[in-house]
Symmetry: C2
Subunit: 305 residues, 2 copies
Amino acid sequence: MISQLVQKIQKTKAPICVGLDPMLSYIPSHIVQNAFKEFGETLEGAAEAVWQFNKEIVDSTYDLIPSVKPQIAMYEQFGIEGLKIYARTVEYCKKKGLLVIGDVKRGDIGSTSSAYAVGHLGKVKVGSNVCSGFDTDFITVNPYLGTDGVKPFVDVCREEDRGLFVLVKTSNPSSGEFQDRLIDGRPLYELVAEKVVEWGADCMDGTYSNVGAVVGATYPEMSKILRKLMPHTYFLVPGYGAQGGTAKDLANCFNEDGLGAVVNSSRGIIAAYKQEKYAKFGPEHFAEASRQAVMDMIADINSVL
Amino acid sequence: MISQLVQKIQKTKAPICVGLDPMLSYIPSHIVQNAFKEFGETLEGAAEAVWQFNKEIVDSTYDLIPSVKPQIAMYEQFGIEGLKIYARTVEYCKKKGLLVIGDVKRGDIGSTSSAYAVGHLGKVKVGSNVCSGFDTDFITVNPYLGTDGVKPFVDVCREEDRGLFVLVKTSNPSSGEFQDRLIDGRPLYELVAEKVVEWGADCMDGTYSNVGAVVGATYPEMSKILRKLMPHTYFLVPGYGAQGGTAKDLANCFNEDGLGAVVNSSRGIIAAYKQEKYAKFGPEHFAEASRQAVMDMIADINSVL
């Protein structure tokens, strides 16, 4: 699976993913109002607005990018109706040739992680059939429960040729509270990184492993160390743009061959029309603003590689 | 919210929750076959089997217990169809007067945790309406991202009178891999425990805080220390029964007043009919076996309090 992502990144020259994390406040009011007209101010109405918004953004950016990263929480907040749109978005993006990284941050004890793994990456057995719940190519996973919480995801990745990104060093301001604490003189995130390497060792797919790592753009000194610790681990890098990470901050996440990282931007792309820089597009042409923002992001990142 | 749990525990004399974590392999074949007859060997068929199974177990145990804990992964593995049954199970249990602990182990950066929080515990704004996605009383939360990942859940608990159980020391074999590592001479789980106390301090509801902790039954020496560190924190205790924790191991999780912990059993209750001890009930009367297992569990735990 990771080799497919690498190929798509090489083809598009765009080591990025677009974060499909639609808050209702990001969605232009003409879309929201149309959805409410049809379904009322209900969960279904909200979900329809999200779907129409996503579809336009995907339609106007898919030829430029290798991958998208829907954040499932933004769908889950609208209950079943929201999750239907998550599933529909995943399916639509795959049809458009995009790889889909489900940002689900799941993780539990063994048998429970197995259920999440087959639900999001694999196939679940029902009688003599195999069925798919949410059919994403990659998901994000939380390591707090240790090896037996992560291994079931790794096993499904090996069997089904799918991929993971395990949280190592997250982009948020308080990520250091636990992740940076020193254990035998080294921060916890380094120990997690070493485990990620171990988990990924028998899950190689070309130069890189199908077991990747989440490494925030907001901590460039740490990503430098992590890049060295995990030479064959792909990084999913949140925190660029709206969260404060710059292209220069990102450079450390890449290997010398220009590979090794896929940088996410959510708000900066999907709500681009709200920025002064893209205001000329106006809410009616929000998807064109997103396209321009994607092109600018690609140029920005390539300027430091 | 935690005061409601305490009251129900005092009324039932049962400091337990029944883990509604149905694997298809737990469900008696007459239920599975009926569901497949109606819906085929599909996600819908699997979900229907889960629903019929849950309903019988709840019907035959609800008068004995204060709470249930559905594990969302077991539903999520069946995609949208499974999650519909999760929502239906939550609603049904609440109608039966049970408190529902959604075992979702969510956790993300701030704005994303907010979305999870309103989706599972609060109400989401849609236009001028407020709607509920998954309307549980408590959920479990993962602390790896630190304060800004947990605070949005705490805020919703304060606003809506709901509750959390934050993962502190989990019951699985490899939980120690990161959680037990020493930081300034103390294990990580103690630092997490101190944060849980801090997060819960302005969220008190009677003697206890609405911000609780997950503390596994399988590590009794650690729960002894955690009990002292967190005197006003309710513990959700997994690991009893099938995972190996005994009633004696649990005693440390309780305060001297016999309160302070709610012990979960999943397999040991819902698949009781598969144990030799309850084999006499047979698969047809699986729910009666679950009722007997609940009574035995209550007696077992009360014997050490």
